[in-house]
C-alpha cells in the first residue's frame, strides 16, 4: 500500500492510474496531492504511519545534534534560535518606547485636529444660524413695528457695512503683523552668524612698527652686515647651526646690538 501526506492509503496500481498526470486529488479527502509524495506504508494503522512520517520530517528541522552542524558555533546559533523563537517573535511585534511615543503623539495630533474641526464646524453652523435669525428678526421687525421700513432697512444696511469695515480692518491688521514678522525674520537672517563671536564695532587695527630705542648709533641692516665685511671678523657658523636657522650674521648682529645699546646713557 502507498500513502501520502494526508494519510489515506491507496494501492500501488491505483496510484499509477489515478496519478498518471503526476498530481491529483485524494480519493478520500480530495486534497491536492503529488504523485511523488506517495511512499510505501510501513505501519498498518495509517494514522500512526502519518504521525511517524511527520515526526521524522520534524526531526530533520528540530532536535538537531552537534554532529549535524559543521561548527559548534552554528549549532549554538541554531539552539539559541530555537530556544528563543517565541521571545523573538513576540519582541518583533512589541513596540519600543520611541515608537510608542510617536504613536501617542500621532494619536494626540489626530484628536486635536478632530476637535478643532468640530469646533470650526460648530462655529460656522452658529454663524449661519445668526445670519438666519438676523434676517428673521428683521422680517419680524418690519412686519410688527410701526417704524418706517426704510429706516429699519437703512439701519440694518449701516450695521452690515460697519461689520464689513471692521472685518476689513481686522484683516489688514493681521496682514501688517504678518509682514512685520517676515521683515523681522529677514533682518535676523541677514545679520546671522554661525560663529560664537559677537560683532564688536570699533576702530580697525592699524599696525605701527615698534620703535627700538637704542640710545646709540643706529644699527646696520642685516644686508649691511653681509656687504660691509663684518663677517670676515667672525667665526663662520657650522653647517649644523646654519641648518638649524643660525647664521653668523645673526650672532654678529647680536654683538653689535649689545655694543650700541645705551652707549649714550650719561
Amino acid at each position: 500500500m502507498m500513502i501520502n501526506e494526508c494519510g489515506h492509503p491507496l494501492c500501488k496500481n491505483c496510484v499509477e492510474n489515478l496519478f498518471a498526470r503526476n498530481s491529483g486529488n485524494c480519493h478520500v479527502c480530495s486534497r491536492l496531492l503529488k504523485k511523488n509524495g506517495y511512499r510505501e506504508q510501513i505501519f498498518d494503522d495509517p494514522l500512526i504511519d502519518k504521525e511517524t512520517a511527520i515526526r521524522r520530517r520534524l526531526r530533520k528541522i528540530y532536535n538537531l545534534k552537534r554532529d549535524d552542524f559543521p561548527t559548534l558555533r552554528e549549532f549554538n546559533d541554531y539552539q539559541e534560535r530555537e530556544k528563543n523563537k517565541d521571545t523573538i517573535e513576540r519582541n518583533k511585534r512589541r513596540l519600543d518606547e520611541d515608537q510608542k511615543w510617536i504613536e501617542d503623539n500621532l494619536r494626540d495630533e489626530r484628536a486635536m485636529k478632530n476637535r478643532i474641526n468640530e469646533v470650526l464646524a460648530q462655529e460656522s453652523k452658529e454663524n449661519e444660524n445668526t445670519a438666519v435669525t438676523d434676517t428673521k428678526a428683521i422680517m419680524e421687525e418690519l412686519r410688527e413695528s410701526n417704524v418706517a421700513a426704510e429706516i429699519i432697512l437703512d439701519r440694518e444696511r449701516k450695521r452690515q457695512i460697519e461689520k464689513e469695515l471692521e472685518e476689513k480692518e481686522e484683516q489688514e491688521k493681521r496682514k501688517r503683523i504678518h509682514k512685520e514678522l517676515l521683515q523681522d525674520r529677514k533682518r535676523h537672517a541677514e545679520s546671522m552668524s554661525f560663529t560664537s563671536t559677537m560683532r564688536v564695532a570699533g576702530r580697525p587695527y592699524t599696525h605701527q612698527p615698534l620703535d627700538l630705542v637704542i640710545n646709540g648709533p643706529t644699527l646696520p641692516s642685516m644686508k649691511d652686515i653681509e656687504t660691509m665685511g663684518y663677517l670676515t671678523h667672525m667665526k663662520a657658523a657650522s653647517a649644523g647651526r646654519v641648518a638649524g636657522g643660525y647664521t653668523s650674521s645673526l650672532g654678529c648682529m647680536r654683538a653689535i646690538f649689545e655694543s650700541r645699546v645705551d652707549l649714550l646713557a650719561f
Partner: protein
C-alpha cells in the same frame, strides 16, 4: 636688552648712593645688637669701610677660585656672580653674613642663570674649605634667600659681548690700522677682571664699560687713544671734514670719551691692592667680632631666661621650606 632691564632701572646707582646704602646696612646691624653691648665693645664692630675691604678680599679670592674652577667657566658667569654679590651687600652687612659662603652661592646661582650647567656635587668639589656636605647645605640654603634679596632680578648684562661687538666694528671700520687689534684682548680682559673688584658694574652701562676696556687695552699696548676717538667718530657718522666742528655727533664722541675716562679712573681708584698686613689685621678684627657675637648670643639667651622664657628662644629660626630642585 639693557635699556629696558631691571639692571638699569633698579640696580644702577651713583657712587654716593652705593656708599649710603652700605652705611645703612652697617647701621642696621649695629642697631640690632646695641642694647646688649657693654662699654667699649662698640669698638669691636666693623665700620662700613672695613666691611668693604672684607668684601674686596673675598672678591679677590673668588677670582682665583673662578680661574681654577673645572670645568672652565665662561667670563659672563663670573660677571653675573659678582653682580649678585655686590647687589646683596648693598643691603646686607658683611659682619652678619659670611661673604665667603655668599659669593660661592652667588657663583652657583650665576651658573644656573648663565646656562653653565654643573651639579651641586661638582660645584662643591671645587671648594677647598669645609666638608662637601656642609657646603652643599649652606649654598642650597642661601640660594633662595639670595634670590629673594635680589628681588628675582637675575638677568645681568655683562660687557663681554658688547666688547666683541666693538672689536668687530673696529676691525671692519678701521682698515688702515697698522697692528692687529686682537693684541689688546688680553689687556682688555685684565681690565674686566679688575673691574670685577670695583663698583663700576653698578654704575655704568655694559657697552660703555666695554669701550673703557678697549681704551685700556690700547693704552697698555702703547697705542694712541686717538684710535678709539677716530673709531667713535666713524661709528657716529661724523665726517672727516667735520673735525672740531660742534656737530651733534662730535659732541657725543667727546662726551663718550670723557665717560670712558671716568670709568677707567673709577676702576683704578676703586681697585684695592690689599697687602698681607691689612689682610691679617682685618682677619684679627673679624675673629674678635666672631667672639663678640657668640658672647652676645649667650647674653641674649640669658636675658631671655631671666625674662621667664617667654616666646621663641633667641637664635631659633623658623625653618622655611627650601625651594630648590637640587636635593
Amino acid at each position: 636688552m639693557y635699556a629696558t632691564s631691571s639692571q638699569k632701572k633698579d640696580w644702577t646707582f651713583t657712587s654716593e648712593e652705593i656708599a649710603l646704602r652700605r652705611k645703612n646696612a652697617n647701621n642696621i646691624f649695629r642697631a640690632k645688637h646695641k642694647e646688649l653691648l657693654s662699654k667699649g665693645e662698640e669698638e669691636l664692630f666693623l665700620n662700613p669701610e672695613d666691611e668693604l675691604i672684607m668684601q674686596r678680599i673675598v672678591e679677590d679670592a673668588a677670582t682665583r677660585f673662578a680661574d681654577k674652577f673645572r670645568p672652565h667657566i665662561w667670563p659672563s658667569v663670573k660677571w653675573t656672580a659678582y653682580a649678585y654679590f655686590k647687589r646683596l651687600f648693598l643691603d646686607w652687612s658683611a659682619s652678619e653674613s659670611s661673604p665667603k659662603i655668599v659669593i660661592m652661592a652667588c657663583f652657583y646661582l650665576a651658573m644656573k642663570t648663565d646656562e653653565f650647567y654643573v651639579t651641586i656635587d661638582e660645584f662643591v668639589s671645587n671648594l677647598s674649605t669645609g666638608s662637601p656636605e656642609q657646603n652643599t647645605s649652606r649654598i642650597l640654603g642661601l640660594e633662595p634667600e639670595i634670590m629673594r634679596s635680589l628681588n628675582y632680578n637675575l638677568t645681568v648684562h655683562a660687557p663681554y659681548r658688547p666688547f666683541e661687538g666693538h672689536l668687530m666694528e673696529m676691525k671692519t671700520r678701521m682698515v688702515l690700522l697698522a697692528f692687529d687689534l686682537e693684541t689688546i684682548r688680553n689687556d682688555a680682559f685684565k681690565f674686566f677682571d679688575k673691574a670685577l673688584q670695583t663698583d663700576v658694574m653698578m654704575m655704568f652701562s655694559p657697552s660703555q664699560i666695554s669701550l673703557a676696556a678697549i681704551k685700556y687695552g690700547l693704552v697698555t699696548q702703547g697705542k694712541s687713544p686717538d684710535i678709539l676717538k677716530e673709531f667713535l667718530a666713524k661709528l657716529f657718522g661724523v665726517e672727516d671734514n667735520a673735525w672740531g666742528s660742534s656737530s651733534e655727533g662730535m659732541k657725543n664722541v667727546v662726551k663718550l670719551m670723557e665717560r670712558i675716562e671716568v670709568i677707567i679712573n673709577t676702576v683704578e681708584e676703586d681697585f684695592m691692592n690689599i697687602n698681607d698686613a691689612d689682610r691679617l689685621q682685618l682677619q684679627k678684627r673679624a675673629g674678635a667680632l666672631t667672639e663678640l657675637m657668640s658672647e652676645l648670643t649667650r647674653r641674649r639667651s640669658e636675658q631671655w631666661k631671666a625674662n621667664g622664657s617667654i616666646g621663641k628662644a633667641p637664635g631659633d629660626v623658623d625653618e622655611q621650606p627650601v625651594d630648590s630642585d637640587d636635593e
